[in-house]
């Protein structure tokens, strides 16, 4: 077995372990009574399996690093996988400070979704262009990912907080938005399902099109085309033809992916609602009814406070050092940079609101969710839509 195969297998093992651990955490919570500080067998087993998964993923990370010769954070697959790994790491860290089992029930599925999302991108090893060959880049990306992961835990705590606190029996803005968050998670699942299904079928349709600079290019769809590229012509087509042609400004392939994910995600969501006959938030609510709100709030706040300095260091300071070396200026208002700054400003506002305006508890939980939304926006949307120097994919 070659190193790269080993690496892939380790990642797979980690994925399975997280899956099993999620179920175990669910079991632990059902078993537990009283405080949510669960130290019984299920809980212990769950964290042990999580740690095994985490170590396995570290194994993936190291073997891939050795194989490629550079830190595996240089394309969308590698970076996003590492992000998932650091989320699990941050969860383990917080778990050992607070022993809060309920956290695992949300943190691990989030990590699972992120890793699954990552593996929808090409996993090939790609060589680095000169500007990326820098130790500072490695340091910058890893530290930034760690900071983001710790910040993500506050969103996890916030979500649990809201699941417990929001009254799901009467209509309210809170109830709507909480369910919207759950819906988004299902859409990501929809993306994973639709992408992996068609990739298992080796689906491909090829077209030529005219890009916004007027150049003729070729594009390969891995999902049946719903939208056609600007002035597309068929090279090789399977299953269906594009229903609508898009102007050059819009990448119809990406739009197709988004619409497929929404479609499948919505169907999945409806299906769950029909089977369970209640909101997804309501399915989870009983699981978290015993958690200690004070403790959750503290965890949420603590993870922001631990994550914020790490994020500043990684996403801003180290980034500036690298940019100064590679691009001759430490700051270039590249979309990815700007969104890192926006993330930073947002969490600065979060801390000021909490400290000076007393925005704690529910308000703080909502803010944590928005913050994580910004982080994900920077990861997904900025890379895919607002392309800049950081465009991986």
């Amino acid at each position: 077995m070659s190193l790269i195969d080993l690496s892939g297998n380790l990642l797979f093992v980690a994925f399975l372990a997280y899956l099993v651990a999620t179920l175990l955490f669910g079991g632990a919570i059902k078993q537990s009574n009283a405080s949510g500080k669960n130290t019984d067998k299920w809980g212990k087993l769950a964290i042990v399996v999580t740690i095994i998964g985490f170590l396995s993923q570290i194994g993936y990370f190291i073997t891939r690093w050795v194989y490629t010769g550079h830190a595996p954070v240089s394309n969308m697959f590698e970076f996003t996988t590492a992000f998932g790994m650091f989320i699990v790491g941050a969860f383990i860290l917080i778990y050992f400070i607070y022993r809060l089992t309920a956290l695992g029930l949300v943190a691990l599925p989030v990590a699972l979704l992120i890793i699954a999302y990552a593996s929808m991108f090409p996993t090939e090893v790609s060589p680095l262009v000169p500007s990326l060959q820098s130790h500072w880049l490695t340091i910058h990306v890893i530290t930034a990912a760690m900071g983001q992961s710790i910040l993500a835990i506050s969103a996890v705590a916030g979500l649990i907080y809201l699941l417990k606190v929001v009254d799901l029996n009467k209509p309210s803005k809170q109830r709507f938005w909480l369910e919207a968050v759950m819906y988004c998670l299902v859409v990501v699942l929809g993306f994973v399902i639709v992408s992996s299904t068609f990739s298992a079928m080796d689906y491909e349709s090829k077209y030529t099109y005219i890009d916004k600079e007027g150049m003729s290019r070729q594009i390969t769809y891995n999902l049946p085309p719903i939208f056609g590229m600007n002035e597309y012509e068929v090279v090789e087509e399977h299953g269906m033809s594009p229903l609508v042609e898009m102007p050059a400004l819009i990448n119809a392939k990406k739009l197709t992916t988004v619409v497929w994910s929404l479609l499948i995600g919505s169907l999945l969501y409806l299906f769950i609602r029909l089977i369970a006959r209640r909101r997804i938030s309501a399915i989870f609510q009983p699981l978290v009814k015993r958690v200690n709100l004070q403790l959750l709030d503290e965890v949420g706040y603590r993870s922001v406070i631990i994550g914020f300095p790490v994020f500043t260091l990684g996403a801003l300071i180290f980034a500036m050092i690298w940019a100064q070396l590679a691009w001759s200026r430490f700051w270039g208002w590249d979309p990815k940079e700007v969104w890192a700054l926006i993330t930073w400003l947002f969490y600065a506002a979060f801390l000021h609101l909490r400290l000076s305006k007393g925005w704690e508890g529910e308000k703080s939980a909502w803010l944590a969710l928005i913050g994580f939304g910004i982080i994900l926006f920077n990861l997904i949307a900025v890379n895919l839509i607002l392309a800049g120097l950081h465009s991986y994919a």
């Binding site: 200690n292 406070i305 300071i317 508890g361």
Partner: protein, 557 residues
């Protein structure tokens, strides 16, 4: 604005919430609260005290945290708008064409975006003013809060009034059986063991740890201000140089912005990864991935007192290979490998050929960097170069013109003299084009080969603000770290001679670990069990109880 005289006789500045000396609540609001607001230890925030002149009003505006947060949010939204479409400096169009570019590519939206100036948002006056206002807010708000907080913490009394202690989040009250002195000593011992600084005053005790963490926010604000000052200073002449030059292989030229220095481009090297293209590369139609962009250069310096153009006595400074991520650094300047152009024409080789016999009379190699007037091939054969245009753009009144000085499209007017044609024949030779203006010739200049050279684009950067930015960044990080990773813990204990104990504790964050300390000292000294006044009375209450968790002022700046 009257001073407030506390029941203990101390005179507090207007706006004080808790008496500076004994801690009694002074405002009605504080008296109502079960748990007091300890954010600034109850000191008067300066801005709230005077509000008379316009200066005070401006000051108070910026002093407000609410205003600060609003500024952060506005900056955040403004910054995000700038990412909707690419900014002008990423657009490959000349200044004149930019407006048209935005309209062409992004349609009506692009036109509006450009017209509103959003395409150059980050250097717009209003964005700069916004950031400037944020800086003012940081300075004013920190001064107003930091100084009183510092004074208050420095002048803390050990003995506090009962009403102060009872309004802390953590309170314990009860009777002890051991002697007061013994209890106090035990607490002192345990707290000292846990690295607290303990002060005693009669029957009162104050144990304190990590006070410096309260200054974290102010320290990081200082760092931010230093950083912003650095950013501003780059506009001051002499602090910042940003130039770019192109240098061809074999060429030596003066470095713009770096007086007295010359650079020779000895060789430009482009290496590619020799792997088979795969995956994403294939999809994007990229066949090779660059591995290395490098220019081997020699840096020269003029001797002292030398003047511009005097290149006779250049002193070699050093040889260096400038690569991406590895700029050349010299005297505060840095030279970056930023761009390249391959295969610019350097030399063109021709054969002088008899048209009918195809027989060659010799080879003429024309160095485009230094073409000669005449090339003598011996035996009465010679080629004169009458006109050379490096970038031929057409004829004007029969004279060939050049568009630039770069040999993009070289053209030559030759006069070929051979023993057969002693008067000489004239031929105009350009790429893929030969004209014989003075009638049919016997001979021609037959194109044979070219030699090329590459060109490197460098950016020259001097940024004397970097050390300032660096210091600002470090101070900021130190401030954030001590504000985040340490916390300020205090424990007050008062033991009456009759064994009545009143204990209170405060921590600015992380109550969780404070409670661990409290548990330890409670057990060790046999203190009454403490109560968390903010915790729901019964832990793990069934209902989705929200009311109890609403609290203010537990987490201190």
């Amino acid at each position: 604005m009257e001073n407030i005289i506390c029941a203990c006789g101390h005179s507090n500045p207007f706006g004080t919430k808790l008496c500076e000396k004994c801690g009694r609540p002074l405002t009605e609001e504080e008296k109502q609260n079960k748990v007091v607001d300890m954010r600034y230890d109850g000191t008067a925030i300066r801005s709230k005290t005077y509000n008379k002149s316009i200066v005070d009003k401006i000051w108070n505006f910026f002093s407000s945290v609410k205003v600060g947060i609003a500024l952060i949010i506005i900056t955040l939204i403004a910054a995000s708008i700038g990412t909707l479409l690419p900014q002008e400096f990423y657009v490959k169009a000349s200044d004149m064409e930019k407006g048209a570019y935005y309209e062409d590519v992004y349609g009506f939206v692009g036109k509006i975006y450009y017209t509103l100036g959003l395409s150059d948002l980050y250097s717009s006056w209003w964005f700069q003013i916004l950031v400037g206002m944020l800086a003012v807010s940081i300075i004013v708000a920190s001064l107003d809060r930091g100084i009183p907080l510092y004074k208050s913490l420095k002048n803390q009394r050990v003995k506090r009034h009962e009403s102060f202690l009872k309004r802390q989040r953590i309170v314990a009250e009860g009777q002890i059986t051991a002697s007061p002195e013994e209890t106090l000593s035990k607490v002192e011992k345990k707290m000292t063991e846990m690295k607290y600084i303990v002060r005693r005053d009669g029957s009162a005790l104050l144990a304190e740890k990590g006070r410096f963490s309260r200054y974290g926010p102010y320290i990081n604000h200082v760092g931010l201000i230093i950083f912003l000052t650095g950013v501003m200073l780059r506009l001051v002449p002499g602090f910042y140089v940003d130039e770019s030059i192109w240098v061809r292989e074999g060429e030596t030229r003066a470095i713009t912005g770096m007086d007295g220095y010359f650079i020779e481009n000895r060789d430009f090297i482009l290496e590619t990864h020799d792997n088979a293209p795969q995956g994403e590369q294939l999809k994007q139609g990229v066949n090779v991935v660059a591995k290395n962009f490098q220019t081997d250069i020699t840096l020269y310096k003029q001797p002292k007192d030398a003047i511009a153009g005097d290149t006779e006595n250049l002193e070699k400074v050093r040889d260096y290979s400038i690569r991406v991520n590895h700029p050349l650094k010299e005297e505060g300047y840095a030279l970056y490998q930023m761009d390249y152009r391959l295969n610019e024409l350097k030399q063109m080789n021709f054969q002088l050929v008899n048209k009918s016999t195809e027989q060659s009379l010799g080879k003429v190699g024309i160095d485009l960097t230094n073409p000669k007037k005449e090339y003598d091939l011996g035996n009465g054969v010679s080629v004169k170069l009458l006109v050379y245009t490096p970038d031929f753009s057409g004829f004007e009144n029969g004279v060939p013109q050049t568009a630039t000085s770069v040999p993009n499209n070289p053209a030559f007017l030759f006069k070929m003299t051979t023993p057969e044609t002693p008067k000489g024949e004239t031929s105009f030779v350009a790429i893929k084009q030969t004209l014989e203006p003075l009638g049919e010739n016997q001979y021609k200049m037959k194109f044979e080969s070219v030699e090329t050279r590459d060109m490197s684009g460098f950016t020259i950067r001097k940024d004397r603000t970097i050390p300032i930015l660096f210091v600002g960044g470090i101070i900021f990080m130190i401030g954030v770290a001590i504000g985040s990773y340490w916390n300020h813990r205090r424990l007050w204990l008062q033991v009456e001679p009759d064994g009545h104990v009143l204990m209170a504790a405060h921590v600015n964050k992380n109550m969780f670990s404070m409670k661990k300390d409290l548990d330890a000292v409670t057990a060790f000294a046999g203190l009454p069990q403490y109560k968390d006044q903010l915790e729901p009375s019964e832990e793990g209450e069934e209902s989705t109880n929200r009311g109890n968790t609403k609290k203010e002022g537990d987490n201190t700046l």
